[in-house]
Amino acid sequence: MIEQLRFWGIVVLLVFGLFFTFVSAVGVIRLPDIYARAHTASQTDTLGAGLALAAVALALGWDSMTIYAVLLLFFVFITNPTAAHAIARSAAESGIVPLTDETEVDVEPDPSTPDEGES
């Protein structure tokens, strides 16, 4: 009974972790500018990695290695939004204009022809 519960707990955590990481991947590829991409990378990717690492910690059981998995979970939870914040702030300080309604359309880069010469 308790083994069955643990099994389904692991499966549900893995499925949700995979789902949120998929949302993060789609967001990083499809969203229009760096700030929106930093937002999806900090939120959904942290949640997906956290859920998958929680599944690993649950699968390892009462082992000494579970401490590593839980430490890794907390580390990812703290450092991933910090890194995304640092990246977005460096984008702001190097003068990248956020894409709003007032922004001209040609500020948005065309994804079909990436031109590295102009930015």
Binding site: L14, A52, V56, L60, N80, T82, A84, A91
Partner: protein, 93 residues
């Protein structure tokens, strides 16, 4: 039987995470700014950490978690260092 099934589930999930990590290469190659590429590499590194942890559980080799921990540390250091370096040449860096 349940343990074998669980190991297979972990390995299949790791394979799907590899596919999601490869999707990040699009933004790392095509991203118009430096920060876009840095963000894509950062997300790819987080996915790598998760893949290493899933392999540690799926293959029954728990020392993979050591490598995952070191990779997470280096990934965070890389993101902070490059994003600091892109502003005013990083000051002291």
């Amino acid at each position: 039987m349940t343990a074998d099934l669980l190991n297979d589930i972990f390995l299949v999930t790791a394979a799907l995470f590899v596919v999601l990590a490869i999707m990040m290469f699009y933004r790392a190659v095509a991203g118009p700014t430096t920060q876009d590429r840095l963000l894509a590499v950062n997300v790819l590194g987080t996915n790598t950490v998760v893949i290493l942890a899933l392999l540690a559980a799926g293959l029954g080799e728990p020392w993979f978690l050591d490598i995952a921990l070191i990779y997470a540390l280096l990934n965070f250091l890389m993101a902070i260092a490059i994003s600091k370096f892109t502003v005013e040449r990083g000051g002291v860096l």
